[in-house]
């Protein structure tokens, strides 16, 4: 008798609980957002974005799950495997392809359609990066390009005219030599000899890592050998770029902002740092090419976890975060990369800020963009090439030998 009554009470209690639970849930949906690109510098900006969104959408609460870049992709991958991934999260282009290929993302096309939204607001290049095999698995949230930064003081002292968008490798070497002559501790340029520079520099020389249909590696092609020769010559032959020993553990940005390098190849994400740390006039131009121009294009995108139970709310958040004027204005004012939208107002806001004066170089670079050469075993490929590039950089192997060896190892280990 007693147990029966107790059971009844329990059932009633559970019913009430679940009811009130669903009422509460209807009141407020909580979604989690995994991200890495805010970092320490832009954490306040991200918090401001979250606050603005929640004010406009009182029925949604966004929980931020922020992780440093170094650990981020491993954390997300483990969470996806363990079924505890955030409802929506940020991915850079390289990792996006891996995740899309593994079928763990939501196709956003139908979701956008049923919500009565479209992709028109986005910059075309940035949007295309998150299309995988014809399906839009992500929307861009920011992008960045790499430019030639230069120290006007050092150019003046060396009596070299400032770089222009028409510069080529030859101009870099000539200017570099004159600036190098200014002092034992002053270098012409800092670019680095590593995978991330290599895949772009070879494109400037009409080279490529793969053949046209991506079925074979062509890492040791004559164009690529010539390109690597250029990179290595700057360090060893002309020494307009510091060797590892000459760098002595100092960061590239530090060397430039300390006034010890005439030119620096780095991304527009360095604007904030240089604004604060470089105590001399500096500016940027589109990066010099050789046979043609080629500029890095990096993009971060937002995706929705395939297993998420709150896809509609997540969709509202990622659409707002990536393309609303409010969020983009916050992003531009914080100089947190570049918003991926074609809104002329936002672009005007971006180019009107200084330094650098020549901010429009960011948009001019888009004409020559090169995306990272993504394959499924991307990290492994990058490391194989990197080891050989370092051997060429340190003079242990000739560029030709180094690339021959890289080619051999890639053919053995990487599936295309």
């Amino acid at each position: 008798m007693f147990t029966r009554r107790a059971l009844l009470v329990l059932v009633c209690f559970a019913l009430v609980l679940s009811l009130s639970g669903s009422i509460l849930a209807a009141k407020k949906v909580v979604i989690t957002y995994g991200n890495f690109s805010a970092g320490k510098d832009n954490e306040p900006t991200l918090n401001a974005m979250k606050a603005a969104f929640e004010k406009a959408h009182p029925d949604i609460e966004v929980k931020l799950q922020s992780t440093g870049y170094g650990e981020y992709f491993r954390v997300i991958q483990t969470q996806v495997a363990g079924g505890t991934a955030p409802d929506c999260y940020e991915l850079n282009y390289e990792n996006f392809v891996t995740f899309a290929a593994k079928n763990v993302l939501t196709d956003l096309g139908p979701l956008f359609q049923s919500a009565g939204m479209d992709f028109d607001a986005y910059d075309e290049n940035a949007l295309r990066a998150f299309n995988y095999k014809g399906k839009q698995f992500g929307v861009p949230v920011s992008y960045s390009v790499v430019l030639l930064f230069y120290n006007k003081d050092l150019f003046d002292k060396a009596k070299v005219p400032y770089p222009t968008n028409d510069w080529t490798w030859k101009d870099v070497i000539e200017a570099g030599k004159k600036i190098r002559a200014l002092g034992d501790d002053i270098f012409g340029i800092i670019q680095g000899v590593h995978f991330w520079e290599f895949y772009k520099v070879i494109e400037q020389n009409n080279g490529s890592l793969f053949n046209a249909d991506h079925t074979k590696f062509t890492v040791n092609s004559p164009e690529n050998v010539e390109a690597l020769q250029y990179m290595v010559d700057k360090v060893i032959k002309y020494n307009i770029e510091p060797t590892q020993a000459q760098k002595s553990n100092q960061g590239d940005w530090d060397l430039f902002s300390a006034g010890r390098a005439g030119m620096l190849i780095t991304g527009n994400w360095a604007f904030t740092y240089m604004k604060e740390n470089a105590k001399f006039p500096w500016d940027v131009v589109v990066e010099p090419g050789n046979k043609r121009k080629a500029c890095h294009f990096f993009s971060n995108g937002l995706v929705i976890n395939k297993a998420s139970k709150n896809k509609d709310a997540a969709l509202k958040w990622i659409k707002w975060l990536s393309s609303s004027r409010e969020s983009c204005t916050l992003r531009v004012n914080a100089a947190w990369e570049t918003p991926p939208i074609s809104d002329p107002e936002i672009i005007k806001l971006y180019t009107s800020q200084t330094p650098p004066d020549n901010r429009k170089a960011v948009f001019e670079s888009l004409k020559y963009l090169v995306t990272p050469p993504v394959v499924e075993q991307f990290n492994e490929m990058a490391q194989i090439i990197d080891v050989q590039l370092q051997k060429a950089r340190d003079g242990e192997k000739t560029p030709k030998q180094a690339l021959d060896d890289a080619q051999k190892e890639l053919e053995q280990k990487i599936k295309l």
Partner: protein, 294 residues
């Protein structure tokens, strides 16, 4: 009712052991067995594991990389073990003397043991800096132009060895100190009366009588050396040009950056087999040189 005291005793023991056993089974034994299974599969975390038989082992043992990495690890061990043994014995002998402030020195030598490898590695990157480092400055005083250490493929591994000896000498020194303190002072007195020099006393009394400790230190430090990792990741990131790639670093890279869990598991089991064999061989050879009758 019948089990009586014995049964209850066993039960008590079991209850006390339970937390440890549960922890061990859950967090050690299960992953160990699972990694053995995984080493015969191809698994990228996101998609289900696929059985590939001994393919991972075959690929590993026939790759140039594997043998190069073995060579690097061997280089580390060959440089590290003698240097660490000699330094910690020397430190122990020095600290065994009575002088003012000996306690302070004990603390100073032991401090690196408690320091985290991350902090220690970052400091050593500056100590070994080509232009601004202390080591090259000291070498400069005696007219030697120091190498670029961590940026030089020949000197990167010796640089890591130096940092590792600094980190471990306090720990092993303390163990040796314990052993030396345990030696009956009568032996030294007798030897001194017979006219033995300090070196002879060290060579013929101290050294043989601490040999069980030396054996312990040798076994544990070789096992640890096979697993050198943190200092490599932070000081050189396995560079320059792969000159300091070592086994655990490769396991980490394959598992968590290249997402080849099966391959990484196979490498772990090969590492286990090697450590097992080396330790077994040491155990067999100890009879030749270890004296247990102190």
């Amino acid at each position: 009712m019948y089990a009586g005291r014995g049964g209850r005793r066993a039960l008590t023991i079991a209850v006390f052991l339970l937390p440890t056993i549960v922890g061990f089974v859950l967090f050690s034994l299960t992953p160990i067995l699972r990694s053995l299974y995984l080493s015969f599969t191809s698994w990228d975390i996101l998609q289900p594991a696929e059985w590939v038989g001994t393919e991972n082992y075959r690929q590993l043992l026939t790759s140039d990389e594997f043998w190069r990495v073995m060579g690097n690890t061997a280089e580390y061990i060959v440089l590290y073990i003698p240097l660490m043994l000699v330094s910690s014995l020397a430190v122990a002998s020095l600290l065994n003397r009575r002088f003012r402030g000996v306690l302070v020195y004990k603390v100073l030598f032991f401090l690196p043991v408690l320091t985290s490898w991350v902090a220690g590695s970052l400091i050593w990157r500056w100590i070994l800096n080509y232009k601004y480092g202390i080591v090259n400055a000291l070498l400069g005083f005696v007219g030697i132009k120091g190498p670029a250490w961590l940026d030089d493929r020949l000197w990167a591994m010796p640089g890591i060895v130096l940092a590792s000896v600094w980190k471990d000498v306090g720990f092993f020194g303390l163990i040796f100190l314990g052993a030396i303190k345990g030696i009956n002072t009568d032996y030294y007195e007798a030897a001194a009366i017979d006219g033995a020099t300090p070196w002879q006393r060290f060579r013929h009394i101290t050294l043989p009588l601490v040999s069980p400790t030396t054996f312990f230190v040798l076994v544990t430090s070789i096992i640890n050396s096979f697993q050198v990792f943190a200092q490599v990741m932070i000081m050189t990131d396995a560079g320059p040009a792969g000159a300091t790639q070592v086994i655990i670093e490769r396991i980490y890279r394959y598992a968590f950056q290249f997402y080849k869990m099966g391959y990484a598991s196979a490498l772990s089991w090969i590492l286990f087999a090697m450590i097992f064999i080396v330790t077994y061989v040491q155990w067999q050879f100890q009879k030749r040189w270890v004296t247990y009758d102190a």
